[in-house]
């Protein structure tokens, strides 16, 4: 026992001796990563998606030859300012808590006359195959830039969604024992060189949520929040959820509720 303690103490001392050097190296790495991110921030390719999304929003399309300009994203028909920041939200007309993507799809179906299958077939882009949804969500998101995330989840259905999201956040399973909380439940950690927000606090959830949708340089496209969370489940080595699934909307509600009050900075750009 004492020997073990001694070992630990010696270990700690050796450790401390190295810590200085390690810290210096670390801060240099952090500086260079910051430089990298700064260089990408001016000239975010997400701007191209926003531009395209604006065109898609106003263009008359679909069997009903209608634009999306009458789409009600929760702030009234055609009102985009702040809409993204206030979603997910309960909608009386559908009786459901909907996120920006499920509501957008709803509008494309009801206003433009597309089928749900047509609209969601290309919900994310593949090389050479653009996704209208990515472009539209980037455009809608940008209309909340500078506004505060505002999802108090006061409606009973919203409150229930947020609680269910919390449950899913902590739920562990799969061959790596993962849950969302494992990587996103603590302060000041990073995975490889990427900072991980503590998504259970306003600061952490705000830091994460305010920059979506975001251009992923590793993927060469904008990721929506649905894509982000569905990919988290892929990384957890789980099976694949349905696009627009309630479990994803529940997580979004939990995160947006936690992030409420944070000012949006979107579209973002990430590795």
């Amino acid at each position: 026992m004492i020997r073990r303690l001694m070992k630990t103490l010696v270990g700690a001392a050796v450790f401390a001796a190295f810590a200085g050097g390690v810290a210096a190296q670390d801060s240099k790495v952090a500086d260079e990563i910051a430089k990298y991110r700064e260089a990408l921030a001016d000239g975010n390719p997400a701007d191209l998606f926003e531009l395209k999304g604006e065109g898609l929003w106003t263009e008359k399309r679909g069997p009903k030859n209608a634009s999306l300009e009458q789409c009600d994203l929760g702030q009234g028909p055609g009102k985009l300012e702040g809409a993204y920041a206030a979603l997910p939200k309960y909608f009386k007309d559908t009786g459901k808590v909907m996120d920006v993507e499920s509501r957008l799809v709803h509008c494309m179906v009801t206003l433009q006359g597309f089928t749900q299958a047509e609209v969601t077939k290309q919900w994310y882009s593949k090389p050479g195959k653009d996704s209208d949804i990515e472009a539209l969500v980037t455009y809608i998101g940008a209309k909340s830039n500078g506004m505060k995330i505002n999802v108090p989840a006061t409606h009973p259905e919203e409150a229930k969604m947020a609680k269910m999201g919390e449950y899913i956040f902590y739920r562990r399973s799969g061959p790596q024992d993962f849950s969302c909380a494992i990587c996103h439940g603590q302060e000041g950690k990073r995975i490889r060189l990427q900072e991980l927000g503590n998504l259970t606090t306003q600061d952490g959830a705000g830091f994460a949520m305010k920059t979506w949708p975001s251009y992923r340089v590793s993927q060469g496209t904008v990721w929506t929040m649905q894509r982000r969370l569905i990919d988290c489940m892929r990384q957890a080595r789980w099976p694949e959820p349905n696009y627009l699934a309630d479990s994803i909307i529940a997580l979004e509600t939990f995160l947006q509720k936690t992030a409420t009050g944070t000012v949006m900075e979107t579209p973002g750009i990430k590795r």
């Binding site: 390690v22 609680k163 739920r171 790596q176 024992d177 990073r190 080595r237 789980w238 099976p239």
Partner: protein, 215 residues
Amino acid sequence: MNFKFGLFFGLTVAFAAPAFAQKALEAPGGKYAKDAEQVFRSSFRDDNPKYWMSRLAQDETMKTCGQYRDNPPRKIGEKLEKLNAATIRYPVEGKLIGDWKEGEKLAAVGTGGHIGFIQPDPAGKLRGGNCYACHQLAKKEVAYGTIGPSLQHFGKIRGNSDEIIKYAYDKIYNSNAFSACTNMPRFGLHNWLTPEQITHIVAFLVDPESPVNKD
């Protein structure tokens, strides 16, 4: 996975839990926990093969950790630790230290085991330990995570006694044998890494020639 043991243990927890439950922090989901489980389960694509869906199953450790937000009362934690310690298996030849060069490769690989339809790993893709995602190891790799403690100079600091070697092996095989609800996966329990692969990572950690200790 030892489901029988798990079930037995589950019953124990069911009786024990109320006494130690932290009243301030309710279990995630509160009164909607059951609804949430059902919503979660029914959210997956119908064309996910059955064996993929089995990855949503939870053993007692997973369930309990979720319930306590990964911070179970000590008494429950201790029980989980015992339960997990009992799962550890060793290589047939009994040698717990392998080839650090193989371990070095495994430590860097973060892919393998991804399923789904969007970006699944191709068949036969090497499953790695993804150690650098969370730990600092060799000095030359600057892109390391900090979810776990730094393991740089692991062997240099702790030596390579049989005791240390066994500790490293056991910890990788089943991390929850030491601290219940840790963030670290149970690599051996889930057959994510074979016992032989684990010995390679042990070597990467303790071998004096390994870049973990040499640089």
